[in-house]
């Protein structure tokens, strides 16, 4: 339980600092600054990553829950989905497959020459 509380505390601090940075610097949303700060803190070894790692992994596992209420908001766009739903699916599928093909093709060529242990 303490691990979860500590992870929540650390995340909250990063978010508060991130929001302050977003307010003064702008450019990114505060949560993105918070995410980068959180990664930097973990990398700096100030805290024992093993202590909070398992707790954060579990939090990330159930994270889709926090998107549920906003996703339900799609019922407000019934008209749009009826008229343009197939177009949105067409855009999504074509860009996903194109990006996938392009990245795989180029990276296969680059990574073949790159040394990797």
């Amino acid at each position: 339980m303490l691990k979860y509380l500590f992870a929540a505390f650390l995340i909250s601090i990063c978010l508060i600092v991130g929001k302050a940075l977003a307010h003064y610097i702008g450019f990114f949303p505060g949560s993105i600054y918070g995410m980068l700060l959180f990664a930097a803190i973990l990398a700096s070894n100030i805290f024992d990553e093993a202590a909070i790692g398992a707790a954060i992994a579990k939090i990330i596992n159930i994270m889709p829950l926090v998107f549920l209420p906003v996703c339900v908001g799609v019922i407000q766009y019934g008209d749009l989905l009826q008229t343009s739903g197939w177009k949105i699916v067409a855009v999504g599928m074509s860009s996903t497959l194109s990006v996938m093909a392009l990245v795989a093709f180029i990276c296969a060529k680059i990574l073949r020459d790159e040394r990797c242990d």
Partner: protein, 231 residues
């Protein structure tokens, strides 16, 4: 009294529905049984059948939504876990993710424009190739709808999960690192989860790509999307 109890009921029901589908997905781990998708369908059906307004539902739903921002911050953990990979291959990874991000934004916006989709809807679905949390934040920032962005993100996830491996075999891509980067940069966490069943090495590359692409898109989208829309 109702004003106090109703939001609590909405909140508890949403959590219960999500965890039920999460358990179901653990037993039947297919991409189509995505717990978020099934939960959204369930809640929408319940609201529809009981004739409950979305704004009424959100009196309780907003308590759950308050955790979206901390959720984005928590993504710093997978970013940290992949730092050894990023530091070793940073040129290739950043190059690939910049390319993927720009390519995805360009195709999404221009194709959607060509099909005559409304501009606000284009702003919502432009970020569909990145992870839900950051796609929602970014699309809201550029004037789109977070709800529509989240739905569009699922299309990319399902497309990659369902057709990704077929596409790789058609293109004869056997390098699993390249396959991982392709899955992560085009179909985010769902793609990374799909490829994890085939190769753990590809999965690490996919996780790295999904985080880096999300960061690149969050930086580029507020400038690049208005430019594409003005063309």
């Amino acid at each position: 009294m109702n004003a106090v109890i109703e939001p609590i009921i909405f909140c508890i029901c949403s959590i219960a529905i999500f965890f039920s589908w999460l358990q179901f997905h653990r037993k039947f781990p297919f991409a189509l049984f995505n717990p978020l998708l099934l939960s959204v369908i369930s809640v929408v059906l319940i609201l529809f059948l009981l004739e409950i307004d979305y704004s009424r539902y959100m009196t309780g739903g907003e308590w759950i939504s308050a955790f979206i921002e901390p959720g984005v911050v928590a993504l710093g953990y997978p970013l940290y876990k992949q730092m050894h990979l990023i530091s070793r291959l940073w040129r290739t990874l950043i190059g690939a993710c910049c390319l993927a991000s720009l390519c995805a934004l360009t195709i999404n916006v221009l194709f959607a424009k060509a099909l005559g989709i409304d501009e606000w809807a284009i702003r919502s679905l432009a970020t569909l190739n990145i992870t839900t949390a950051i796609a929602m934040e970014t699309s809201a920032e550029i004037g789109g709808s977070a709800a529509l962005a989240a739905v569009a993100v699922m299309i990319a996830g399902f497309t990659g999960s369902a057709f990704g491996m077929l596409l790789m075999s058609v293109l004869k891509i056997k390098n699993m690192r390249a396959v991982g980067l392709a899955f992560g940069s085009a179909s985010h966490a769902l793609g990374a989860a799909t490829i994890a069943r085939t190769s753990m090495e590809a999965s690490a590359y996919a996780s790295t790509a999904l985080i880096l692409c999300a960061i690149v898109t969050a930086i580029v989208a507020p400038i690049y999307i208005p430019f594409l829309l003005s063309l």
